[in-house]
């Protein structure tokens, strides 16, 4: 390996080192503050190493991993999201009487797996990093061992994620049988088709199975059944991590695959993806309409958001990657803020999951209510929030490539979404019903959590008012390498 290879891999090496350092730190002295501090320092260091890695990019390190501007941008997004999730976890775990330190170990390994995903250009690295992420997530979801919902969610996730991994593996094997290569950039090329290529059925079946595996992780419509239960059962910081890091990393893989090939709009694959996108948008918003549990509501709405994101990919225009990356960034900020508030207002007894728990939050904890309001407005896509800019770019990308059907569905379903997001805000503004509910136990504010929430609220507003710098960063890094 050349020195430049190490430069390109520096963020991953730092994350690995941080995981081992946290392990050793727990071995020597068990201290929640120290462990959390080490973890966050490791994440900050890895983030700071991204510009250094960018200086070596684009660089293919072994046939497995490609570090380019696209990789660096998504790694930055994922590391920042993991940092926010770690910040929420500190206050959340501090309130519980369990062993807290190992959580950060799992968080670091999961982040490492997620960060390698956008760099994967080979089925081997894709599968390994996906498993690193998923296996760490099993532990994170079940981390509160005394809470039955968490265990139930972890077992469901274990079984369903294993099945989806099996689909992915089988699909990769079928493609390999047909094409004789596992490299993502070569499987669909005409040359490889000429080399092996006697079995179009194998190829179609393989691609279909890979799509099932990826679709499961993204929770788009036919593969979405798991998501409400897992979001509800997992501890709120873990739900935040799942919603951002896990799904964002897999979506990055999808963008990379789409950028390698032009999928003709007459092909069967394209039609399948259009149906998945449209049905996801409808079903996600529809199912969220009558939810009274805020975590389930966010879970269903996330189905819709990934349907919106697919619109950008299917548009396949010059602005597609910019639109998708910007929307993903805006979604990350808003959904992290929402789950951060849930983690912050949950007491030591249980989580505040029901909408009723949020009644009158403006009076009780106006800061948390303000952050949740801005997050909801951003998820709707109200002007002056991050979500508006994201959605505007998505629509521009869609209309620019004249995918009328999807653009119309996007607008209509966004209007449906207005109802349930606004209901959350309305509930917070209502006067607390004094008579029937026992007073919520006073929750100690976690200073760290509040700082992270403040930064996220600021991010929502900043992206909404002055998005130019972020768009410029995206255009310099994420979209420069892609031949859309």
């Amino acid at each position: 390996m050349m020195p430049a290879d190490f430069t390109a891999l520096l963020p991953y090496l730092i994350l690995t080192g941080a995981a081992v350092a946290v392990l050793l730190a727990i071995t020597i002295v068990r201290n929640h503050r120290l462990t959390a501090g080490l973890t966050m320092a490791g994440l900050v260091l890895a983030f700071a190493a991204l510009p250094i890695a960018l200086s070596a990019a684009p660089r293919a390190v072994t046939p497995l991993v490609e570090v380019d501007g696209f990789t660096i941008f998504f790694d930055g997004l994922l590391i920042a999201a993991a940092f926010a999730a770690a910040g929420f976890s500190y206050g959340y775990l501090q309130r519980r009487r369990i062993r807290r330190e190992e959580f950060y170990l799992l968080l670091l390994t999961a982040t490492l797996g997620a960060c390698i995903l956008p760099a994967s250009v080979h089925f081997a690295s894709l599968f390994l990093s996906l498993e690193l992420l998923t296996v760490s997530l099993y532990g994170m979801i079940a981390y509160l061992r005394t809470e039955l919902f968490g265990i139930e969610a972890a077992i469901k996730y274990l079984i369903l994620a294993s099945i989806s991994s099996a689909f992915l593996l089988f699909g990769a094997a079928l493609i390999y049988t047909d094409r004789g290569t596992l490299s993502l950039s070569r499987i669909l090329l005409p040359e490889s088709a000429a080399a092996g290529a006697l079995h179009p059925v194998l190829m179609v079946a393989g691609l279909g199975m890979v799509l099932v595996g990826i679709g499961f992780k993204l929770a788009v419509v036919p593969f979405h059944m798991w998501i409400p239960d897992i979001y509800q059962g997992a501890p709120a910081p873990v739900s935040a991590f799942l919603a951002t890091v896990s799904k964002g990393a897999v979506f990055a893989v999808l963008i990379r695959v789409f950028s390698l090939y032009t999928i003709s709009s007459e092909s069967g694959m394209y039609a399948v993806l259009v149906v998945i996108a449209a049905v996801s948008m409808f079903a996600g918003n529809w199912l969220a309409l009558l939810q009274t549990n805020i975590k389930r509501l966010l879970a269903y709405s996330s189905i819709a958001h990934f349907g919106y994101l697919l619109v950008a990919l299917l548009a396949a225009g010059p602005n597609s990657v910019t639109a998708a990356a910007l929307y993903l960034a805006a979604y990350f900020v808003a959904i992290l803020a929402a789950f951060g508030v849930i983690a912050a207002v949950s007491g030591s007894g249980g989580e505040a999951q029901e909408l009723e728990d949020y009644r009158g939050l403006f009076w009780r904890r106006s800061w948390a209510a303000f952050v949740l309001t801005s997050a909801m407005l951003s998820l709707i896509g109200i002007p002056l929030t991050a979500g508006f800019i994201g959605k505007a770019y998505l629509l521009l990308a869609g209309l620019g490539s004249a995918v009328w059907l999807l653009a119309v569905v996007l607008i209509v379903t966004s209007a449906i979404g207005l109802y349930y997001y606004l209901r959350v805000i309305l509930t917070m503004a209502q006067q607390p019903a004094a008579e029937n509910r026992p007073a919520q136990p006073a929750v100690l504010d976690s200073r760290l959590g509040n700082i992270v929430l403040g930064a996220l609220a600021l991010g929502i507003l900043w992206l909404g008012v002055f998005p130019a710098p972020v768009i410029e960063i995206i255009q310099r890094t994420a979209s420069s390498v892609l031949p859309f």
Binding site: M1, V20, L24, I26, T27, R99, L198, P200, V201
Partner: protein
């Protein structure tokens, strides 16, 4: 070069039909030829042997699982080390450095397991006693 789809699909179809026939035949033949009786133990899960006695819910220590897991973990690592040993000269110093790092991570994990008392056998090891004391003290501090 392209072969028509039907030519690829038909062996698959024959195979599927063969599987169906075999499963149906197995079930049908054993249904026809098999004897039927209703003894005291017919409904028992383990029909062909001795009638089970005593409760099946025997509790045994979770440490058995722990040891099994450690075995799988560390044994699997040994497989990687063997693979490296075979290609020692080809891998060169770079391979050596990677293996040192790999074993270093393993040692860190072993130290961690030792520290948390996962290697202690017995109803309650000294380490875990210390740890419980420490934890209760820390919980008191938190409150």
């Amino acid at each position: 070069m392209q072969t028509p789809v039907t030519e690829i699909v038909w062996p698959l179809g024959v195979y599927a039909v063969a599987v169906l026939i075999m499963v149906t035949a197995t079930l049908a033949i054993s249904h026809v030829l098999g004897e039927r009786h209703s003894g005291r133990a017919t409904g028992e899960p383990y029909e062909s042997g001795i009638v089970p006695t005593g409760p099946s819910g025997i509790r045994f220590s979770v440490r058995f699982y722990l040891v099994a897991m450690f075995f799988v973990l560390f044994d699997l690592e040994a497989v990687f080390i063997y693979a490296w040993a075979v290609s020692l000269r080809e891998a060169g110093w770079a391979g050596y450095a990677e293996m040192v790092f790999f074993i270093g991570v393993l040692l860190a994990a072993l130290a961690y397991l030792w520290r948390i008392g996962a290697l202690d056998w017995g109803s309650i090891g000294r380490k875990s006693l210390d740890r419980r004391k420490e934890e209760s003290r820390r919980d008191a501090d938190d409150r």
